[in-house]
Symmetry: D2
Subunit: 271 residues, 4 copies
């Protein structure tokens, strides 16, 4: 449904009709918009990437429809510049223009960090997944940061019981944090997750690096439970972080299913 702020005001606007049932809706909006963005990174540089964007407002019981094109117009106005500050502005603008009580903005995007191989120092880009989930209700504003970090996990049980070797695999650590609007960088969460696994991943490893990563992982076996607890312990210790959820999924090299662990603290799951 298009905007009613139209050059053709004579076109009827059924969005203003009576709804079939006087039931207020929690979220009405647009979903799965692909949009090029630039994200401010820790080194004060704007990184270009592409985000999946969702935008919602609540809808009172007496309004039938929402003018969906306005979400896109608001997004366009910010030209894809994404920082803690612009996210707040987008959510605020959304709430104002829809005269809504609540507004939501969700963004998910790949995020790249240059990393050096552990021995050769060879630089290359490593891919992570990040997201922001911002929410305003009246004058309250809350933003959650989500980061997914692939790590290597080596099974302590397999190592202990086996005469040689130990099964290991790629795992994904997913963190979601609430900060009371204090800034936490994506890079900080990546560092916490990479320290919690058996070894970090790299895009480019020379032979001497592969030797170092293999041995480091073997010397540092971690269960999926260990990884989640280690991340939770680090998040718990950070005074900026007021709530969090940590999940880890191991794509087991000996099974065709995953091992999984999760913990949530002071974070409403649904937001």
């Amino acid at each position: 449904m298009p905007d009613n702020h139209s050059m053709h005001p004579h076109l009827p606007d059924v969005a203003n009709d009576e709804p079939p049932f006087d039931i207020p809706l929690d979220k009405v909006g647009v979903k799965h918009i692909l949009y090029p963005i630039t994200v401010l990174d820790r080194h004060d540089r704007w990184q270009s990437t592409v985000a999946r964007v969702n935008m919602y407002v609540d809808l009172p019981k007496n309004f039938r429809g929402t003018h969906m094109s306005r979400f896109i117009a608001i997004l366009n106005r910010f030209r894809g510049r994404i920082s803690f500050e612009t996210i707040r502005q987008i959510v605020k603008a959304t709430r104002a223009e829809f005269q809504a009580l609540e507004a939501h903005l969700e963004l998910r995007f790949p995020y790249f960090i240059e990393k050096r191989a552990p021995v050769s120092g060879e630089p290359s880009l490593m891919e992570y997944r990040a997201g922001f989930h911002a929410f305003a209700r009246g004058d309250d504003f809350d933003i959650q940061l989500e980061v997914s970090v692939p790590v290597m996990s080596l099974c302590p049980c397999s190592k202990e019981i086996s005469a040689r070797g130990a099964h290991n695999q790629r795992s994904v650590v997913r963190m979601r944090i609430k900060t009371g609007n204090r800034l936490v960088w994506i890079e900080e969460l990546v560092a916490i997750a990479e320290a919690a696994g058996s070894a970090p991943l790299y895009s480019l490893l020379k032979r001497e690096d592969e030797k170092a990563v293999t041995e480091a992982a073997y010397d540092n076996p971690r269960f999926v439970e260990d990884i989640v607890r280690t991340v939770a312990n680090a998040l718990e210790a950070d005074p900026r972080i007021t709530g969090y959820r940590v999940e880890c999924e191991n794509f087991e090299s000996i099974h065709n299913h995953s091992a999984y662990a999760a913990i949530s603290k002071r974070l409403a799951e649904g937001l």
Copy 2:
């Protein structure tokens, strides 16, 4: 990590070691197991399908690891027979064998219903998605049913403002309900969602059926908001249903993104 109920008790069991941090975990278990199941349908027939299965327990702060293979062993014992009754037994058995406070079982699977084309009466199978999410905490047991139903939605605004035609598209209505353990059939939720859209979908339509569906949809324009409200109204009226979430996503034929609406009532999102 394999079971410690092993024929080789001399193998060390590092799962019993001290954890790195004394943090209790909400969920520890196995994820993304593909498993053939049979589900009891409304006509008292067992329908064969294939489920994605997740199983979790909580883990107290003083245990390092979980014996992941026991989840699979429990699942195997039930040979994939899935009904309200066996789900309760699986969750109960999981809690008991892990000596856990909580146990979770999640199943998602395609589900088929034979439907007759509206004019020709031609029968064919229509595909839906269903899932059960069961949870035990101590002696409390709760089961939620999730059903996704594709429907056709025709835009009231487009119809009203256009001299001819109206854009329409496939939409997916996703419902999740909590019932205080009273039985609600997948077929009942499918019927509610199909009645809420502009028209139901069919696998097989002859020309006279296509005419009927096209005209029915044109005569019954529905916003994404209308669909969610109509479903919510029906669920609200059912005394067996104590909580619910309804979402609808329209894969807009005029955009490359979706229109979306959602409502949640008395349903903890995260469970």
Copy 3:
């Protein structure tokens, strides 16, 4: 577009109109039908599963449209019973009813094999992916079998250069074979792929099994290139197999990307 074999022959059938350009089409049909099937396994049992089905015919330059509902009607007639013999019948029936020169049937489905853990002998179901791609052109009939098998791969380089341990991961071996219509069982291709990796995967492993799998993999390091060559060598030696493609993808535990190798012999890729 529905069938014109309709009870309402007075409804116009624009499928018979002149096409906009007199260009013959290679494939016209229905895609992504989800359908419950039973597949005959090696032990002469019918296994229930759910398939994604695609069905196509060619369309001569002077026909504008195809009666898409007939594909579904043909599929329904066979009630989902899938064997080499019924596949041939479905493709033959499709060609005949559409009066087409060519007809295609593609099926992809999860397939389960009961496997015993290597030491404890504990049985459990292991999931594979299989598919049939059948094609008729005039009286010629050809069927290709596709099987995807997850295996464990342990890196020979990592083992050789490291003082201890070796990175390993889940890999997927994907085989597609052409047999001149001679029967090759899914189970046979699974066995070939599992023998080519560092170790097979299992759904359920007790501690003594995990020890055995870990050590077996460590003693049997395989590059992605080794796995593809070993499978190709086995397929080449089988007189029933007249053409094949083998791919292997390693979900590297030290990287966030895959290592990949492929070989194709006497198999038109596109069929």
Copy 4:
């Protein structure tokens, strides 16, 4: 497996070992690398996006392994600048450094074009999918361009037989072309596909625009077969295009499966 151009030449290089079978491989390399790129657009501007990248070489029968890290090193050297010219350089460099006969580079990425709504002229970004598949064999070089364009399709049959309305839906037109290395812009293929559907899609439509799009689609009904033929006719008429494949998939609003049509001309499917 890391590079052997290492600072630690004393580390053994098992990639140089004897392979288990003397079988040459078609493709060996890295798959599913996510990488930020900039693509030159028609207006001579560099557009930032994120690509999935695959890189392969052939492997003669007497080499056991490939130094996978070199692919990443080559990619890094070009810093993600992607144009017809740099693609040729990357493929050439890959072939040279691996001393291979053949080299492949595959890139797939979202691509954005600013589009104006048809009546209001309101600008917004529209998302497409594009890809390059480049191949060198000896001194021969070939590059194929792939573009996926979402369009609206309105069913001619439904319109003809119905007293009012007509079912319509989102469709995706996928084109792959071979050009003998002459430049064809992504924008040109987008224009061809958008002209072939019932109407183009937009990110942002005001009410007067939605009216225009709805009526245009109703006035321009197209079968999936019509769309493919119209695109094929346009590609056939372009002297730069020496081979092509066109597919269209309609996500039918009256079914839960797709209608599909395809044509291929002078294009080896597998390349």
